[in-house]
Symmetry: C2
Subunit: 229 residues, 2 copies
C-alpha cells in the first residue's frame, strides 16, 4: 500500500495523539482494523453550522482500500445532509466496543473496559461505479459476513439514490482498557466488594419475516447468530 | 421545571430537527429520557481546531436537573481537553441502543433496529460542590443503579481532579426503527430469506477482584447482572 514508515503505527498526527491514559493507547495499525471489524456500527461526527453533530451509522473498513492507510466507507441516502456535505470536509468516525463495567470501591475509580477507535479524515465522494459497488458490498458484509454474495446486485435506481463517502484510515487512534479496578489501599482494606461485570453484544435467534416463512435461514445469518450467542 | 409549551415535545430548533426518515422520529420528551436511561454510555462530539472529534464516555441524565429540559452530566479528568474546553461551547451527545439487524432481500433495504438520542447544547462547568457531588453520584448510578449509596463519598482530592460539565437536554431528537425489512414485491417473489437478527447487550457473571474474594457480590451488582442476563 504505502512505504511511509508511519503507516505501521497509529497517531501520525497531533489530532489523533492520545494525551490522557497513554497506557491505554494501542499503536499497531492492525489493532485499528480489528476494532473496526468487530464494531457493528459507528458514530459519525461532523461540524454543521459550527456545532458538532454525531450520528450513528453503518460503515465498512477496507484496509486495502485506495486511501492512505486504507479506506473507511460510509453510505446513506443522497438526501442525507451529513453524507452530502461530507466530501471535502473533515469527518470523525468513532467505534466503541464495551467489554465490561469496572466496579471499584470508590465512585472515582469506576470505569469501563472497552476498545475504541477514532478516525479523523477528509471525506471523498465515491462516484466510480466499481468502487461504489465494492463499498456497498463491504457495508453489507460488515453487518453479516458473506451476505452480499447471496443478494442480487443493486439496481441503477438504488445506486442513484445512495451516496457513498470514503475517508482514509490514516489518522487514527485506538484505546483499550482491560482488567479489574485499581483502588487505593485504604479502600481495599475497608472490605468493600470490587470487580468487573462483563458485557457483550449478543444475538437472539433469527426472526424470519412472515412473507419468507417457507425459506430457511441462510447459512451466513445462522453463523453470525451462532457467533454472537 | 419550565412552562414553555415546547418542553413537552422534542426538536424545538432546526439543529435537532429530523429531516430524514421522519417516520422514525419520536417527539415525546419522555422518549428522550428513556433512551438516555438505558444507554450505558454516550458518544460526545466536540469541534476541536475546526474538525469534529467524537469520543465515548460515561454520562448521566437528570430530567429534573437545573438546565432547560433537564441536565446531562459528563465528567472526566481536569486534564482531559475535551472536558476542559467544553464549558461555553456547543457539544453534541449521542446515545445509541441497537436492537437488531434488519436483513432484507437486497443490500439497499438492509437496516438496523435501534433507538438513538441526539442532544445538542452548550457546556456549563459545574463548580457548585453540591451539584458536583450530585452529578458524580448520578454518573455512578447510571452505570449501576443504587451503587453510589453503597460507596464512600469522593475525597477532596478526587473532587479537585474531576471536572464535571453539564448541558441542557432541551435541544434533542430521538429516532427509533422497529420491525422487519421492507422489500420490493419483486424481491419478495424471488423467494429469498429475510428477517431480523435481534441484538442486545448482555452481562456475564460478576468477576470479583482477587483482593475482594471474601466479599459477597453486592445486591445492586447482582440485580444489574440479572437484568442483563
Amino acid at each position: 500500500m504505502e512505504d511511509d514508515s508511519s503507516m505501521a503505527t497509529l497517531s501520525p498526527t497531533s489530532r489523533t495523539e492520545i494525551r490522557r491514559h497513554g497506557d491505554r493507547a494501542l499503536t499497531d495499525r492492525s489493532e485499528l482494523y480489528a476494532v473496526l471489524a468487530e464494531a457493528p456500527f459507528c458514530h459519525l461526527g461532523v461540524v454543521r453550522d459550527g456545532h458538532p453533530l454525531v450520528i450513528p451509522t453503518v460503515f465498512a473498513a477496507d484496509p486495502d482500500g485506495p486511501d492512505r492507510g486504507g479506506t473507511l466507507y460510509l453510505h446513506g441516502s443522497v438526501a442525507a445532509r451529513s453524507l452530502v456535505e461530507a466530501p471535502g470536509r473533515d469527518l470523525c468516525v468513532t467505534c466503541t466496543i464495551v467489554d465490561g463495567l469496572v466496579l471499584a470501591r470508590s465512585g472515582f475509580s469506576h470505569s469501563m473496559n472497552y476498545r475504541s477507535a477514532v478516525v479523523i479524515g477528509r471525506g471523498r465522494n465515491v462516484d466510480d461505479p466499481k468502487e461504489k459497488l465494492h463499498a456497498l458490498a463491504r457495508v453489507v458484509d460488515h453487518i453479516v459476513p458473506g451476505r452480499s454474495a447471496t443478494l442480487r446486485s443493486p439496481s441503477r435506481k438504488e445506486l442513484a439514490a445512495t451516496a457513498v463517502v470514503a475517508m482514509p484510515l490514516f489518522e487514527a487512534s485506538v484505546k483499550r482498557r482491560t482488567g479489574g479496578p485499581s483502588d487505593d489501599a485504604a479502600d481495599v482494606a475497608a472490605g468493600v466488594w470490587a470487580g468487573v461485570l462483563p458485557l457483550r453484544m449478543t444475538a437472539g435467534y433469527p426472526v424470519t419475516s412472515h412473507d419468507a416463512a417457507a425459506v430457511a435461514v441462510p447459512d451466513e445469518v445462522a453463523r453470525l447468530a451462532q457467533s454472537l450467542r
